[in-house]
Amino acid sequence: MAETTIGIAELTAWLRRFRELVGGNRGYLTELDSAIGDADHGANMDRGMAAVVAKLEETPAETADDLFKRTGMTLVSTVGGASGPLYGTFFLRLGTSLGAVAEADATAFGAALRAGLEGVVQRGKAEAGDKTMYDALAPALEAYDGAVAGGSSLAEAAHAALEAAAAGRDATVPLVARKGRASYLGERSAGHLDPGATSATLLFQALDDTLAGK
């Protein structure tokens, strides 16, 4: 039978795992950002997620809104750049959407992810095909919702989300950027992976890693 909830321990583990993946891919993300940006996406995400994990180490969160609001606020106040407000807003909205609960079912979690994405769009005005993190996030949520609707477990939905995120990320390669720093390059932005879509895929990788085996 499908596992239907994700608890505060797993949500926290998700963030920890995201921090690990970001740290391990710091150089890679920066390299991607060198090609079409300003060579700091790895450093930005690493600085931010290291701060998040340090904050959570001090006082573990007991509810989802505490967990994600602290995560979002820490990202906003330590990252800067484009990714700080965008990831920050994403997590803030996740917290608001989930509220003061210690666990969430697949539908509530899906709704929270959707609220997060809406926050990203509100801040950044990105649309599909602009070659941003949106291009990984949006198909991921699409796949997640589809899986849940089809009766998959949360873990299975997370895995579907990861695969869609990865596909969305890869599909950014031929795109000409219309948002963010890469847009300044015009045609020269084509032929490269978008750094933010890559880190967003790591976010779903982290979720999949956390829930795998469940």
Binding site: T30, E31, S34, A35, I36, G37, D38, A39, D40, G42, A43, N44, R47, V76, S77, T78, V79, G80, G81, A82, S83, G84, P85, L86, R123, G124, R178, K179, G180, R181, S183, Y184, L185, G186, R188
Partner: protein, 332 residues
């Protein structure tokens, strides 16, 4: 990577220590990475706050002082400051006449300043106006993109608007002036070499010995096109032509800045200025004031950028007004 640094992740913090020691006329809040005037202006003056990623020195911290900024928030290298920093700066230079945020048009900068303005208004009811500088003609502008980058005009704007704020003009006027300056400036840059972001540890892009990038910004982002290395006179043409094609500068006096990117020595910048001014004058531009040197840099990148600002008597008057900052100083 060859740099005068200790630890790639501590460059900004360490540099601010030296900056504070070098300039007793400013005060550095090291925790929040904000530069303030050591002696703040009395109440009644509009507070001018700018900031952005570091690596562009003397911008912005070097422009804090009499006749320019009241505070500058320093982000990590090439990363805009966080809303917290900008909010803190805003709070501290709100002398009751409101605060103007001077923001360079990058997604990150715009979003972080926006959040700061929201937070500041919510917390203290501060009146905040924002001007976004987007003067880089290398970038095609369009409704569907992030628009043009903010580069050299920022320096001229901070000087001119700083003088107006110093005169005690109200926020609405100061903001309107800022928008006028922003709309009247155009820039174009080029690079002979890439810069190296300390945390990245290697050059952002590779550039063969016989090529250069035209249309670069100030973050080591590649330019619009890569062309064979050319003499200064040709480079001057590649900078001047797109600037003049974008705006008519012949009807009024112009303020011109030939800016170094950080790794090009003054002897070359003067040489470039000579070439640029020849072309400008041939095109009917009257150069009323000029700056040559490193004013908005891109770490150790070799190269230069040209900024031309369409001025008028009032802008020239404000330009000539006293300024006393680490990065620009005259008339005091």
């Amino acid at each position: 990577m060859k740099k005068l640094i200790n630890d790639p992740d501590r460059v900004l913090a360490d540099s601010l220590v030296g900056y504070a020691a070098a300039h007793p006329e400013v005060r550095v809040d090291h925790e929040n990475r904000i530069v303030y005037r050591a002696t703040p202006k009395d109440s009644g003056k509009v507070g001018l706050v700018s900031g952005g990623g570091s690596g562009h020195e003397p911008l912005h911290g070097g422009y804090v002082g009499l006749g320019m900024l009241d505070a500058a928030a320093a982000g990590e290298v090439f990363t805009s400051p966080t809303p917290d920093q900008v909010q803190e700066a805003t709070k501290n230079v709100d002398f009751g006449a409101g605060v103007l945020h001077i923001v360079k048009n990058y997604t990150g900068d715009v979003m972080n300043f926006e959040m700061a303005a929201e937070l500041a208004s919510a917390e203290t009811g501060a009146q905040v106006e924002t001007v976004v500088v987007n003067d880089d003609v290398a970038v095609q502008d369009s409704l569907y993109t992030a628009g043009r980058r903010g580069v050299g005009t920022t320096v001229l704007l901070e000087k001119i608007v700083g003088a107006a704020a110093e005169e005690g003009r109200p926020l609405a006027e100061v903001a309107a002036l800022a928008r006028q300056v922003s709309e009247s400036g155009r820039s174009m840059g080029m690079a002979l070499t890439s810069c190296t972001v300390p945390a990245a540890g290697k050059p952002t892009f590779d550039l063969p010995d016989d090529e250069m990038e035209i249309g670069i910004g100030i973050h080591g982002e590649p330019g619009r096109r890569r062309v064979p290395l050319a003499p200064a006179s040709d480079i001057a043409r590649m900078l001047v032509e797109p600037v003049l094609a974008d705006l008519d500068f012949t009807a009024s006096p112009a303020i011109v800045m030939l800016n170094g990117m950080g790794g090009s020595p003054l002897i070359e910048l003067y040489l470039m200025y000579g070439e640029v001014v020849k072309l400008l004058e041939a095109a009917g531009v009257t150069v009323a004031r000029r700056l040559v040197g490193d004013f908005i840099t891109s770490l150790d990148m070799a190269g230069c950028s040209l900024t031309v600002l369409k001025a008028d008597d009032e802008l020239i008057r404000l330009w000539d007004a006293p300024v006393n900052t680490p990065g620009l100083r005259w008339g005091v």
